[in-house]
């Protein structure tokens, strides 16, 4: 496990009425933890005793070769895939950006946001000011009436990211969230992360980008089913 000194600038959020996302007053209690996670498909062992945790205000990176099981590990943590063994605990107020393109192709971006905004994961409601801020920051306003199937790869990825952060969750789990972003949007992404982390959000993020490494507080490397610091 590699601890790095304060890699993300703790910028002031610049938003009104913002509460710390955790609101728990227990900064050291992990938002998400997995102990001894194992997963096998037949004889193939995908995960072999993985331990990891994400605390508030922490940005944790998860790296590994293609097919090493990073996305599967995340899905085990979030309860989408049942691990063969091990213990998992995650805050239910989690924002998740999966790798796959899951958005409904025939909905307009605004319709999608309206539906997602009407949901309350773990009782978390959407703050309209935060939503407007994110839409403006991600430059999505012109695309609100567009059908999702007509979006470019980068814009589609922005909508996925916005879906994950729209409830300003205490825990963010992002699977290669900057795929398709240009450099400007890549920097905007990290600004948004800084805002959220500044409010207390813990972030677990899969990334292959070398220049991301300096932004993580901790990096786990998944190799042959085992997590290494």
């Amino acid at each position: 496990m590699t601890d790095r000194p304060d890699p993300i600038p703790r910028v002031a959020a610049g938003l009104t009425g913002g509460e710390p996302a955790t609101g728990s007053g227990e900064p050291d209690r992990p938002l998400c933890s997995g102990i001894g996670i194992e997963l096998s498909y037949g004889k193939h062992r995908v995960l072999d005793g993985c331990d990891l945790s994400v605390s508030p205000r922490q940005v944790v990176g998860l790296t590994g070769e293609n097919g090493s099981g990073k996305s599967t590990l995340i899905k085990c943590l979030l309860g989408f895939v049942r691990p063969t063994a091990g213990k998992v605990r995650c805050d239910p107020r989690v924002g998740y950006c999966p790798q796959e393109n899951y958005l409904h192709r025939s909905y307009a971006v605004a319709e999608h946001l309206e539906l997602i905004g009407s949901l309350q994961p773990g009782g978390n409601q959407v703050d309209a000011a935060w939503l407007s801020h994110c839409v403006a920051t991600l430059k999505l306003k012109p695309y609100l009436p567009y059908a999702i199937r007509k979006l470019s790869g980068g814009t589609y990825q922005k909508v996925k990211l916005l879906t994950a952060i729209v409830h300003r969750p205490p825990l963010l789990v992002l699977d290669e969230p900057t795929d398709g972003f240009d450099w400007t949007m890549y920097l905007v992404f990290w600004d948004l992360m800084a805002e959220l982390v500044g409010r207390g959000t813990g972030v677990l993020m899969i990334s292959h980008l070398l220049h991301d490494r300096d932004r993580f507080d901790r990096i786990y490397d998944l190799c042959d089913g085992r997590l290494r610091a």
């Binding site: 895939v81 999966p98 409904h104 905004g117 009407s118 949901l119 773990g122 959407v126 703050d127 939503l131």
Partner: protein, 266 residues
């Protein structure tokens, strides 16, 4: 700009479900082409010669003398509305199911999702049944048009639920589509239809197929003045069982773990 939390989620899912069907170009094309082709074929090929048709009334079976064209039109209307209902249910319960699993993860209640989706589906089936009844009444006089409508409604609910179940359980769209075409064609269009399969009337097997009771209900209402409680009861049991199975399948799909590989887009 979307206004979060202003609208009720159930209403949103219902409204978006209706949009999904409206925005499906193939669905709209099929809505016109399938009835036109099938009913056109009957009008073109079936003769005006009369043949006896055995109508099931529970304890007794009544023979009604009808033209081949009348019989063919009713069965083909049943097959067409059943297939279309199954196709629209397939769209509602198969396409983009990963998206709705994600919404469930985000806090959407699977029960609310099923109810809103099902309400949209019922709206479509009622519309299909009404169009089919009105279309049939233009070609042949109907003794009890509202009961005919109820019969077609039950056919569309049964076949729609079947299409939904196939859609929920199938990973791929094409095999699911083939399965609904196969049953709608085999059952309503062929096996139940004495014009094309005269031996079927003598076989007990057709009593166990989903289109049997609603088709008998439609025939008795269309061409006799008698009420047919046995056919209505049988069709109702089929409809309730099919819808219950659909609800179980949707709940299982929405709540259970992802398939091997854990992907949302499969």
């Amino acid at each position: 700009m979307p206004e979060p939390g202003r609208r009720h989620t159930g209403w949103l899912v219902f409204r978006l479900s209706a949009f999904e069907l409206w925005r499906n170009p193939l669905g709209l094309v099929l809505l016109v082409v399938i009835p036109a082709v099938f009913i056109g074929m009957i009008l073109w090929t079936a003769s005006q010669n009369s043949i006896p048709l055995k109508v099931f009334f529970g304890e007794e079976t009544v023979q009604v003398l009808l033209t081949q064209r009348q019989i063919g039109l009713v069965f083909v209307s049943a097959a067409v509305s059943g297939f279309l209902a199954a196709y629209y249910a397939l769209i509602l319960f198969h396409n983009d199911s990963g998206y709705f699993r994600f919404c469930v993860f985000m806090g959407l209640s699977p029960t609310l999702f099923t109810a809103a989706r099902f309400a949209a589906f019922l709206g479509v089936t009622a519309l299909l049944a009404a169009v089919t009844t009105v279309g049939l009444s233009r070609v042949t006089p109907l003794e009890q048009p509202f009961t005919v409508f109820a019969g077609f409604l039950l056919i569309t609910v049964i076949y729609g639920a079947y299409g939904g179940i196939v859609g929920v359980l199938s990973r791929s769209f094409m095999p699911a589509l083939l399965l609904i075409v196969l049953l709608a064609d085999l059952d309503a269009a062929w096996l139940q239809n004495p014009v094309y399969y005269s031996a079927a009337q003598e076989s007990e097997v057709i009593h166990w197929l989903p289109a049997f009771y609603p088709c008998q209900m439609v025939f008795s209402a269309a061409f006799t003045a008698r009420s047919n409680g046995a056919a209505l009861g049988g069709a109702f049991v089929w409809a309730v069982a099919a819808v219950a199975l659909l609800i179980v399948a949707v709940q299982w799909r929405m709540r259970g773990p992802l398939s091997a590989g854990g992907r949302f887009d499969q």
